[in-house]
Symmetry: C2
Subunit: 458 residues, 2 copies
Amino acid sequence: MPENKIPYKIYLKENEIPSKWYNVRADMKNKPAPLLNPATLKPMTAEELAPVFCDELIAQELNDTDAYIDIPEEIQDFYKMYRPSPLIRAYFLEKALDTPAKIYYKFEGNNTSGSHKLNSAIAQAYYAKKQGLKGVTTETGAGQWGTALSMACSYFGLDCKVYMVKVSYEQKPFRREVMRTYGASVTPSPSETTQIGRKILAEHPGTTGSLGCAISEAVEVAVGTEGYRYVLGSVLNQVLLHQSVIGLEAKAALDKYGVKPDVIIGCAGGGSNLGGLIAPFMGEKLRGEADYRIIAVEPASCPSFTRGKFAYDFCDTGMVCPLAKMYTLGSGFIPSANHAGGLRYHGMSSTLSQLYHDGFMEATSVEQTSVFQAAEQFARVEGILPAPESSHAIRVAIDEALKCKETGEEKTILFGLTGTGYFDMVAYEKYNDGVMTDYIPTDEDLAKGFAGLPKVDL
Amino acid sequence: MPENKIPYKIYLKENEIPSKWYNVRADMKNKPAPLLNPATLKPMTAEELAPVFCDELIAQELNDTDAYIDIPEEIQDFYKMYRPSPLIRAYFLEKALDTPAKIYYKFEGNNTSGSHKLNSAIAQAYYAKKQGLKGVTTETGAGQWGTALSMACSYFGLDCKVYMVKVSYEQKPFRREVMRTYGASVTPSPSETTQIGRKILAEHPGTTGSLGCAISEAVEVAVGTEGYRYVLGSVLNQVLLHQSVIGLEAKAALDKYGVKPDVIIGCAGGGSNLGGLIAPFMGEKLRGEADYRIIAVEPASCPSFTRGKFAYDFCDTGMVCPLAKMYTLGSGFIPSANHAGGLRYHGMSSTLSQLYHDGFMEATSVEQTSVFQAAEQFARVEGILPAPESSHAIRVAIDEALKCKETGEEKTILFGLTGTGYFDMVAYEKYNDGVMTDYIPTDEDLAKGFAGLPKVDL
């Protein structure tokens, strides 16, 4: 390891865990477009959202003016269980790549949910408990959000009903057991337990499910059950708010050593990790205080940013949720069955969509075999087996570092390592056996999804 | 969380990672008995051990006089990848138990091997590389050691052949994929690839395997292949030496806050974790500088300490390895098929056996349903899903804390949380489904194992 004052892992102290979340919308000139009531096409009011979401979370969802929001003490206490998360200087990866680039990653996988999702899960469970609810419903794709929420609900004594995308339920049987160990009930989606599930099963008997469909089921159950609300692990403004703890910690750790990143890279499915990681950096960029190159990385098989349309769309397949303006492939879009892991949502955070639309960030897409190649290389030198989702960011970080090798530039790269891949070994097995495939949707495939976009004329 | 100066997680700084291992044998008046050559019944010489083990590791194995041994810089560098590991104050568990006890645990699971095994794996791989070897062979039970070794070998570019106990190979298919991702080859044991494997399969066609049998296969391949040696993840003196990094860090972290444990608890299979955790504390006890109550916890289904004999025995089922004097159930002992996870070795570290024999530590055994009950309780309040092995220590730590609740004593308890349970979800599923069973071997069961003990008259 080179002589350097910067340690391999930078840990903040426990009293340096942020006490406020940062709300990037407060600094956006063009605010993200509001959620619309699908019946009236008018912006959803807090009252209209109340049957679905917890009251305090609705307030956070609609708040685009306060830059900082206090983190309740109970949540700060829980954060101490697994935060601050380390900011790691990738000395071993730099050496393996023989690059002059300086690579850092914020590692959010050192908790049992295996990802950053716990940051928002504990917040949402806290507000549900505070409101006196009995329980919450949700969907999960790769299983990280469901696991995180089951941990959070167990902590506050809330019931937790998880609808898990069927393909993940089958690929990741052990995820289900972790959730059950934390007391959650887990149902593969689409299921026979809801009207929308039965409808989708009737129309598509062999479907492997989608996040959009699981959302519809979870919302139906929440709205129809006394004392329950629905919670979501990505896409929403409130989630990006909670996840800002990632970026705030990362920035504080870098600031300690006077390091300023040139490039910030995050994987993007619904945007929870990317939005959280970049939050304070984007804030500086929006306020004109600093400039950063910010790159969203998405799977070529589910390319919302790079090939989607910026339009109002349903957040769910069942079209029961409000409309959001976002980069979307259409709520009927389902990634091909060979797509492993998460990052399979048809849409994207409205906040990130607006920022991308306004030119504050870039987006790129990568194919999954090249993602797993990067994952394997990273695992072997850095000692952490990454989640497939996180490995999208690794792929682009490595590519950027290799460009530096060619040009000789000593760029500082920061990327988000959102989680670990311990529950993704079916996908790793395919890669190890050399039978993993890539799939890029054709323009015709995408046209089918776009055809389902609602006609909204504002 | 209570107001307290002691944080939830105590992290040492990277430059506080120990630069020397501590060799408890140097402070033992009664040294552990030497390994014997099974042919001559004389102590094994370095020359006799050389075909099996790496030279430098043999020197460490036989060294019972030097109290401190330098950790080579290359190993210290690797340690920085995942060490220092946190010492965690179990505030949440204390609150849940409503106990006046103060509970600390040293958590070794925050690395991809999922356990403390990496501490010795990287040392053994380093010395193999330094000797110019092509590769190493080993066995693995629960899979933690095999994963750790595959990571270490990948780092140093060594070939790694792992013989995995068949029951674990079947219960933990994903462990195999992690090892393959790190480039190792994994064979279920007993296998057709070795003489001893074929013999055992012929005699016991339906066997689910045992550590002792997998050791025989790995040793046979190492001895018979040019440029290979055999490495072992537990039991040996050298392993306890490397694992002393656990106890040294734990003690340094406690010393920072002026905390002295009253009770130290560790799970015990072959003794690697327990021996490492207690090392510096035992040193003080041996030198008369301090007193600690030290408790080894083993499964009731594999009770080497509590029901075994202190005698010379073969380290492996095939009886090709040297004899060690230890608490043993006989090299033919195989735990019942319902036993989940590791801690399934028939014997026990010679060093720990001698210390136990001389009254420096206690031992107790626990049944697995009560272990999983403790695991679930711990996971829900502390946010870490523990390995079944580690949960043996959790069980006894909780029991000790509950005793303090009755007596009002404010004892300080330290236990070793050796790893995470992400690859043990088949066992958790059984517990969640209420179909996990206990099994305590009868005296007749044990008598069969004892009947196979070699006749050694010294």
